[in-house]
């Protein structure tokens, strides 16, 4: 049995090496090869494509959405900061509003299903856990499997979707595209930039570029399904280069009607249910807190500029402004903000990859998706 020549035998080590090599090559190349060229689609103008998006009425849809955000927010300690893995602050439980923040950093997988405007389901796939948000008519159910809690909201009849509590259901390519197309005006260049394939569907690529130089947005790309006009992927590139700040796209999509059972939800046995009236006050004692919060809302919100270089200006309420001036706060601020001076005086600049803020020493705040120079300009002009 051991008569085979030694050289031939030594060659056997080539087998595992080949297997490993082949696997490495496959992993490296398949993503590139899996999209064998962009599909050939009839030419279409940008206007036509936008109209098609607006007219798209894919009432039935289900699929998997991958969302990756890298806004370059500094990792702050405490709740909401950094890449908190959710769940840790169990107090929040299944309340949908808390989940949106969680999606604002890192990579997440969402499973979505929709059947008309009244019935939707969004589930965030977490490690050995899942967060589901189900809307069925006027009932909005949120279920957090980690804490086994249910949050139930009943909407009054005929509620506009926009008025319903905002939750993670806003994080789909359609919603993102809707927002981006709203911003399209004469400060924007919109072109059709070839075709692509998303989730196995042929799609046109809509390229939106701000014309204003001081915008932090380099470009927005929206892949629009060639047949249905449904936006399948949304990519926002910041000016600083690097990877996309926001990348939301279907990895799997199906335009057939989802099973009705998908939207049927009844609280599981043993789960803790929180009821909420639509006015937003949870049945309990949270209402007075809300009153107090209101006093902390910044006053005198003003909008400067137009289009992509819009800057919001507001004044910090007295208490907060005092807080900013305290030595401790200054020291804290010093760690992740830069000193800025200009005609307006001096202030501190706080930057992320997309949104920048300038806080002047007298407590006025300028925020926008514009560059540092753009903010200083806005502040100078405002004085």
């Amino acid at each position: 049995m051991a008569q085979t020549r030694p050289i031939k035998k030594a060659l056997r080590y080539a087998v595992p090496a080949t297997v490993a090599g082949a696997a490495a090559v496959t992993v490296g190349l398949v993503p590139a090869l899996a999209t064998p060229g962009d599909p050939d689609l009839p030419k279409i103008s940008a206007e036509e494509l936008i109209t098609r998006v607006a007219a798209s009425d894919a009432r039935h849809l289900s699929g998997t959405v991958r969302i990756t955000t890298d806004l370059g927010l500094p990792a702050l300690p405490g709740p909401g900061g950094g890449d908190s893995r959710g769940g840790e602050d169990g107090a929040r439980g299944a309340d949908p509003r808390g989940k949106l923040m969680e999606l604002a950093s890192g990579s997440h997988t969402l499973r979505v299903a929709a059947d008309g405007p009244d019935r939707q389901r969004v589930s965030i796939v977490e490690k050995a856990a899942e967060y589901s948000l189900v809307r069925n008519g006027t009932d909005v159910w949120a279920y957090d499997s980690k804490s086994n809690t249910v949050h139930h909201t009943v909407l009054p009849e005929g509620t506009e979707r926009e008025r319903a509590p905002r939750g993670p259901e806003g994080m789909t390519p359609q919603k993102a595209a809707e927002q981006a197309l709203k911003a399209v005006d004469d400060t924007t260049s919109v072109t059709v930039d070839g075709t692509t394939k998303v989730a196995g569907q042929d799609a046109y690529q809509l390229l939106i570029e701000p014309k204003q130089a001081n915008s932090t947005v380099e470009s927005v790309r929206i892949a629009v399904d060639a047949d249905s006009g449904v936006p399948l992927r949304f990519t926002l590139m910041p000016k600083g280069g690097g990877k996309a700040a926001v990348d939301v796209g279907f990895t799997e999509v199906d335009f057939s009607k989802p099973d009705a059972e998908t939207f049927a939800f009844k609280p599981p046995k043993g789960a803790e249910v929180t009821e909420e009236r639509f006015d937003g006050a949870p049945d309990g004692s949270a209402a007075p807190d809300r009153e107090k919060d209101r006093q902390d809302v910044p006053s005198g919100l003003k909008v400067i500029g137009e289009g992509w270089s819009t800057v919001a200006e507001f004044t910090l309420p007295g208490r907060a402004a005092d807080g900013v001036r305290s030595p401790e706060a200054q020291e804290m601020l010093g760690r992740f903000t830069d000193e800025v001076t200009g005609d307006f005086g001096s202030g501190r600049f706080f930057g992320t990859r997309l949104v920048n803020a300038l806080i002047t020493d007298d407590g006025t705040v300028y925020v926008g998706a514009v560059t540092r120079d753009g903010l200083v300009e806005a502040a100078n002009a405002a004085e």
Partner: protein
């Protein structure tokens, strides 16, 4: 020595069964060990390997310890919640699903698997796989085993199959023990899936079985790795220690966020994907990724073990 001799006697009994193509290196020599040994003549050898593995006191002790873990978890949860009180909303860290056990004893199966999968289960697999070849070499029985015209490739295949069967047996031991403890200590009934959907207890049981299989499959990559390590040395203890050490090292690498880029290639990367079987509808992507990754490890280290074992000079 005497322990190993006993099942070997069994091996010689089935000798005639695999008689025919005994001449030289079989054509199956190019077979990847990860694949099923097709020919019937491997059956006898495989059976004797299986008997050898499961007759070991060490194997039985490992299985007994695995069976004890769900009992421990179950009793701890039972005491902690004082019988029928509800656990406080899964607060704090712990194995996945632990907060659900008080509602449904079936969740003890998932908790026990989630708790044992990171280290305990793979450790037992590492022990069995690491010992497979090196143990025989160390005890001096490998030489005799190879005198019989079984062929090294076939012997390796039989060893690998036995280790894979052990993976399944170990997982099922945890699952069944957890099920029994769960039914005895906690109420059972309809099962709440991760998506908030409720399914019948019977479907819950089916999903639990599927999960046990998924967990067993998760261990195949390590089994192949352990077998490869086992062909490198003549010391069973060294092979076991190396395999378990590798497991721990890889788990540590997997916990370092800065090494994000390599994580998808580490064999435990998709281990927790078994929980995806509890979603409605089942989320297959990670499960299939896991299958692919384990298959890849099995192919690479299986063939590496084959290359080494068929080249090796066995004098001890």
């Amino acid at each position: 020595m005497s322990r190993a001799d006993l099942p070997r006697a069994g091996a010689s009994h089935v000798e005639p069964a695999r008689g025919e193509p005994a001449g030289g290196e079989p054509a199956g020599g190019r077979d990847v060990p990860a694949r099923r040994p097709g020919p019937l003549w491997s059956l006898g050898l495989f059976r004797s390997e299986l008997v050898l593995t499961f007759r070991r006191w060490r194997t039985l002790a490992l299985l007994a310890v695995l069976a004890g873990i769900p009992l421990l978890v179950g009793i701890a949860v039972r005491i902690e919640t004082g019988g029928d009180g509800t656990a406080d909303g899964g607060g704090g860290e712990g194995p996945a699903f632990i907060g659900q056990i008080t509602n449904n004893g079936l969740f003890l199966v998932f908790t026990a698997l989630a708790a044992t999968l990171p280290f305990f289960l793979p450790m037992t697999v590492g022990v069995v796989a690491g010992d497979a070849i090196a143990g025989e070499a160390g005890a001096g029985t490998l030489r005799y085993l190879l005198v019989a015209p079984a062929g090294r490739t076939r012997l390796l295949l039989a060893k690998f199959t036995a280790v894979v069967v052990f993976c399944l047996a170990a997982t099922l031991t945890v699952a069944v023990s957890a099920l029994v403890v769960g039914v005895l200590l906690f109420p059972v009934g309809e099962v709440t899936l991760l998506s908030g959907t409720t399914v019948s207890f019977a479907e819950g049981l089916v999903r639990a079985l599927a999960i046990a299989v998924a967990v067993a499959v998760s261990l195949v990559g390590l089994a192949a790795l352990g077998l490869f390590v086992s062909t490198l040395t003549n010391s069973g203890v060294a092979a076991m220690a190396t395999t378990v050490g590798l497991l721990i090292a890889v788990q540590i690498l997997g916990a370092i966020p800065q090494l994000d880029a390599v994580h998808p290639y580490l064999f435990p990367h998709h281990w927790m994907s078994f929980a995806d079987l509890l979603r409605d509808p089942v989320y297959w992507e990670d499960l299939l990724d896991n299958l692919g990754l384990q298959g890849l490890y099995a192919a690479v280290f299986g063939t590496a073990a084959w290359a080494r074992f068929t080249n090796r000079d066995i004098t001890v």
